[in-house]
């Protein structure tokens, strides 16, 4: 058995058991039981060294993040996370690195009760492709195409912190160490909002996760739904570490165009304000109304204290997001 086969056996030993895994790692395919009445939801993401993460990233953080960005897609669909395939390409079998990567991966897998059901381990330039699989009844799936005029637009958590950590890393910005720690944690350990996604079944008319920055990501909902949006900039939940560290203009750029937030943006029909407030308390997660869906060509109309304003979003700069073509 080669060292890369051994790695796979090591991962297999870590794989959590789930009753819906008919056959796990070790055969030509895994066999999985999808509940009757539910769709299989599948998302695939590749992270490449020096493109999606710094080559010297802590492997614990990388193991976490590689899984987190895929679970985030399931969350955005309102899907119950169940199973993970991991394709890991490594320049060499480095024990310390592998132990760290597995630790980060495994901790998040346990937290969300997902089982590693297969994959491939190969020698080559460092890259990670994860396919996350969950299930959701088709009628309750949170698609991008269901937003209607009059719906309220919400985002979870806070925005801009991960993007600021990326900028600090590149430009060595003079940022207070407490704020930097907060932002770096948000960059390295995004938290997939799976519970929120499940709770939004039957409530939200559309949803997606914020990976490239709110302004661009919200446009996906607007185009898929054939609607426009009005956003009040003063309502944006910009992370306090960002507000403390940069100018208001820079903070807006990071929150709207910075990326890597992995929060959910979703729309709900008018009249659900109380339900959403209660949900925020139950999940201990801020859910902030930032605007309203309107009729019209897909576009975002920005308001500042109720007054329409022009806004040119460049996200400071589009580091790490220039050329990705993620579709599901």
């Amino acid at each position: 058995m080669g060292e890369f086969e051994l790695i796979q056996h090591y991962f297999a030993a870590q794989a959590a058991a789930r009753a819906d895994v008919e056959l796990g790692i070790g055969d030509d395919c895994a066999l999985l039981n999808v509940p009757v009445g539910e769709c299989l939801a599948v998302s695939t993401d590749t992270l490449v060294s020096d493109v999606h993460f710094f080559a010297d990233v802590d492997p614990v953080a990388l193991g976490h993040k590689a899984l987190a960005v895929n679970l985030s897609d399931l969350a955005a669909m309102g899907a119950q996370p169940r199973w993970i395939s991991l394709a890991l390409t490594l320049p060499k079998a480095d024990d310390v690195w592998l132990t760290g990567f597995t630790q980060g991966f495994h901790a998040l897998a346990v937290k969300h009760n997902v089982a590693l059901i297969g994959g491939d381990t190969t020698r080559g330039p460092l890259s990670i492709t994860i396919s996350a699989k969950g299930t959701v009844p088709a009628a309750q799936a949170l698609r991008r195409s269901g937003a209607k005029a009059g719906d309220a637009i919400y985002v979870s958590g806070s925005l801009g912190a991960a993007a600021l950590a990326v900028q600090q890393r590149i430009h060595n910005l003079p940022i207070n160490s407490d704020a930097l720690r907060d932002c770096s944690f948000r960059m390295d350990y995004p938290q997939p909002r799976c519970e929120l996604g499940l709770a939004l079944r039957g409530i939200a008319t559309s949803a997606l996760d914020l990976s490239d920055g709110l302004s661009g990501d919200l446009m996906h909902i607007l185009r898929a739904s054939g609607v426009a949006a009005e956003i009040e900039l003063t309502n944006l939940p910009i992370a306090s570490a960002v507000q403390r560290s940069v100018t208001p203009e820079q903070a807006l750029q990071l929150a709207l165009g910075g990326g890597d937030d992995y929060e959910l943006c979703f729309t709900v029909p008018a009249g659900h304000e109380t339900a959403i407030s209660e949900l925020a308390v139950a999940l201990d997660l801020p859910l902030t109304r930032i605007g309203t869906i309107t009729t019209g060509e897909p576009q975002i109309i920005w308001y500042h204290q109720g007054k329409a304003v022009e806004l040119h979003i460049n996200g400071w700069e589009h580091f790490h997001h220039g050329e990705a073509g993620k579709t599901s």
Copy 2:
């Protein structure tokens, strides 16, 4: 939209429609309908440049092969192929290369009626991860663990041709041009035996696909099933192009240890000889009995014209298979 996003849209336009795709490319996840009473079967394979294929390989062949090796895993499980996720990492967006890759991929996808339902396109060192998904009733799945003493052992098609093409490519062996063309085609265009896998439901007690060479691959069945095997070497269906081109000893090494055959090896209970013969005719695919499962510790006992022989299999050399840890 970046050029890599455009690629994804290009692939999306090629994606075949299937009635069981509730939601295809373009949302956070694809949504898929698994038939009631069937398991989801999932296999993931990564192909890395210079590890699994020559960097200058014809992109048409690469598009074919990347999909074929995954469909081969579904075939080995007796699963009906349905859906494909494609994670493609490319150094640059090269029109000619992409057109070729897509052509090879698409032709095989159409042949097996599988729909591309998502993935990721990223800039980085050339590598391809495909996750193939199909379905099979759990009780009919062709696992590795069901072989019983007395079962006949079969392989489909012929063995050794792809491995000889690899050796020729490395060592510039003096091989007749007709034979080389046959072998190169087997290396570049493996044919996943999906119809055979489906037909073996309810007949075969175990199965797998031959990717690393019969001797090593058969051991996976023997270990999973807790049985031994007796193989008659003169019954091995060594490809005629191989028989014509190298010594009998070299031909054996290629057939047993060479890899890249992507034929099925399967076991059936005694008494099914006629059914298998009829199946071979119906599929126009040789199905050759090469031996018998016996009780005992997992091992292969080799026979030559009925006489037990010692055999040291090195597969000529293990090019392209040294460090892969494929598990499902």
